[in-house]
């Protein structure tokens, strides 16, 4: 039903009327659920890993006595201890590791000695100790610091927003309590700022303060496109159409037009010929450069559809005959003229091929003869419509 379709269309873009949700209302519940999920998953993983380790251990017990060299196993163990032990405790372990290195890998020891000889003088063993400790210190830089360099205190996630959207930003967790914001001569706490929504289009500036001191100025843009459909009717018999335009829309960069749910055009204006009478739903969706969306729907009632205006009386002696409406640009057609016996006397698919009143056998029609014409027309929208009427030959017609 058309009315149902119109109602459905009316609800397209309805989501724009709702502001963003309050994530904080469900955040703790979601995080709890996440924790539970990950915990149950990790328990499963630990169980699986434990099972695997147990299997491997059993395998090692079985094969170790015959396959591995005892000394090699001890060395591996010592190395692991050194890497996982706090700095002070590890020093002694390092010596033991270096002793092993010195004893078993002369090339590495030589390399260290060469480096130290350039940098230092004195006892080579002390230098070796020092170098190893330095290397070890580097190894103990907390991994988080290595991966996450110092974050700025306050960074906007993005600078362009849609109307009603909350601001997205990242703040260094250590300084959140000391952060506040100035907007429009008003001071906001961080919590207030988190809830702040842009309520008008345009540029907005905020000052970010840390411990009451301005540390940063932030500029954001709020885009609020507004869809407004404009239209103009053209009543030409040969070329009836409606011109739809988005000229009254605001802050729009992209346009999409739909007629009865079917995508029709993506320009800011287009012409459309309605091929039949009825109610149509014309919808325009506009988007700003940042993707903010608005839509508008206009219901259009077509009382007189595009049709073929054609005379019902024709005098071959005066001129040629063709329905007027076929002269519209972009229309293709197939016209047939049929006599009362049902025989086709003339066909045409060309505007220049008009009927001159002669039949297929080159016979001329007589006064009072009655014919029928049928035209299948593919309109500018690609739809095929069929038209037809009677045509009376009247030699008295001027």
């Amino acid at each position: 039903m058309q009315a149902d379709k119109n109602i459905k269309n009316l609800f397209d873009g309805f989501e724009n009327e709702f502001r963003k949700g309050d994530w904080s209302a469900i955040e703790s519940k979601v995080l709890d659920n996440n924790r539970r999920y990950l915990l149950s998953k990790s328990k499963f993983m630990i169980g699986a890993a434990f099972g695997m380790v147990a299997c491997i251990a059993l395998g090692l017990v079985h094969f170790g006595t015959t396959t591995f060299n005892d000394k090699q196993q001890v060395e591996v163990t010592e190395s692991n201890v050194a890497l996982n032990t706090p700095l002070e405790e590890s020093k002694t372990q390092i010596f033991s590791v270096s002793d092993i290195l010195a004893a078993e890998e002369p090339s590495k020891t030589e390399e260290l000695s060469t480096t130290n000889s350039v940098l230092h003088t004195g006892n080579s063993l002390d230098i070796k100790k020092q170098e190893l400790i330095v290397l070890n210190e580097e190894a103990f830089i907390p991994i988080n610091e290595k991966l996450n360099p110092q974050l700025p205190k306050f960074t906007m996630h993005k600078t362009t927003y849609c109307l009603g959207e909350k601001l997205e930003f990242i703040s260094d967790s250590k300084s959140t309590e000391s952060l506040s914001f100035n907007w429009n001569n008003k001071r906001m706490t961080l919590d207030e700022f988190k809830q702040f929504r842009l309520s008008s289009a345009g540029n907005t500036a905020f000052e970010v303060l840390e411990n009451g001191k301005i540390i940063q100025q932030v500029n954001v843009i709020c885009q609020a496109p507004m869809a407004r459909i404009g239209y103009k009717k053209n009543y030409d018999i040969d070329n009836p159409y409606v011109q739809f335009s988005a000229m009254n829309s605001l802050n729009s960069a992209d346009y999409e037009w739909y007629i009865d749910g079917e995508s029709i055009a993506s320009a800011d204006e287009f012409e459309y010929t309605f091929a039949s009478k009825g109610m149509y739903s014309v919808k325009m969706v506009v988007r700003s450069s940042a993707g903010c969306k608005d839509s508008s729907v206009k219901s259009v009632r077509i009382l007189r559809a595009y049709n073929l205006m054609a005379t019902t009386v024709y005098n071959p002696e005066v001129g040629k005959w063709l329905p007027l409406g076929l002269k519209k640009e972009g229309v293709s057609f197939r016209l047939r003229i049929i006599d009362q016996a049902g025989k086709t006397v003339f066909t045409s698919i060309d505007l220049n091929n008009e009927w001159d009143g002669s039949t297929a056998e080159n016979m001329k029609v007589s006064n009072g003869d009655l014919f029928y014409w049928v035209a299948q027309v593919t309109d500018v929208n690609g739809k095929i419509n069929e038209y037809g009427n009677s045509l009376l030959i009247n030699s008295e017609l001027e």
């Binding site: 459905k8 309805f14 009327e17 949700g21 659920n33 990950l38």
Partner: protein, 195 residues
């Protein structure tokens, strides 16, 4: 720091499956409006809709592993939220379901064309905001049938299955829903022109 600008929905879904809170928040922000718009049509007030949406997202995050990537994610999400809204209606079913199953034939005999004309006329005049108000004034069952049939596009057979009623009940509920809508919209318009 992770940025979500231009991030594909598939990546957000993957993050949600890994229980990444930022992905969950992004999913929530992206779809809140749409899901509110859906739930709002099934509820009598905004607060009820918000409650359903909040619960719905918690359910989505819990059940997101069941979305296998086949088909539209938005479609899957909509089904979850429509079902959430309908669950609430099903719980109240006995309170409002008072339909005579045999009386639908008369309604169907009336001129569909005439009704369509009337509906169209009214729709042109009323606008979305008033239509939502009118839909919210319907009883929960009328509202559910109207939403499922007219807006979600289900057939009467499907509506009947979803709401666990007969197909005839679905049809007569829809008829009555539309009748009440027309009446309410006319009243609204009269009040509007009177003022």
């Amino acid at each position: 720091m992770e940025r979500f600008i231009n991030v594909q929905i598939s990546e957000i879904i993957k993050g949600c499956k890994d229980r990444d809170a930022r992905s969950q928040k992004e999913l929530y922000n992206r779809f809140f409006g749409l899901m509110m718009a859906i739930c709002y049509r099934y509820c009598s007030c905004r607060q009820d809709a918000e409650d359903i949406v909040q619960d719905g997202f918690i359910k989505v995050f819990d059940k997101i592993d069941s979305f296998d990537g086949n088909g539209s994610f938005e479609g899957w999400l909509k089904r979850v939220f429509v079902n959430m809204a309908l669950d609430k209606i099903r719980k109240q079913k006995m309170q409002f379901l008072s339909i005579n199953e045999g009386d639908n034939e008369d309604y169907l005999m009336r001129s569909a064309e005439q009704e369509e004309m009337e509906e169209n006329e009214l729709l042109i005049s009323i606008g979305r905001e008033n239509l939502v108000k009118a839909i919210q004034n319907l009883t929960p069952m009328y509202r559910a049938v109207f939403n499922l049939f007219v807006i979600e596009g289900f057939t009467h057979a499907e509506v009947a299955e979803i709401l666990e009623v007969s197909e005839g009940t679905s049809k007569s509920n829809l008829f009555k829903a539309k009748k009440k809508l027309r009446k309410d919209i006319k009243k609204l318009l009269e009040a509007k022109y009177a003022s």
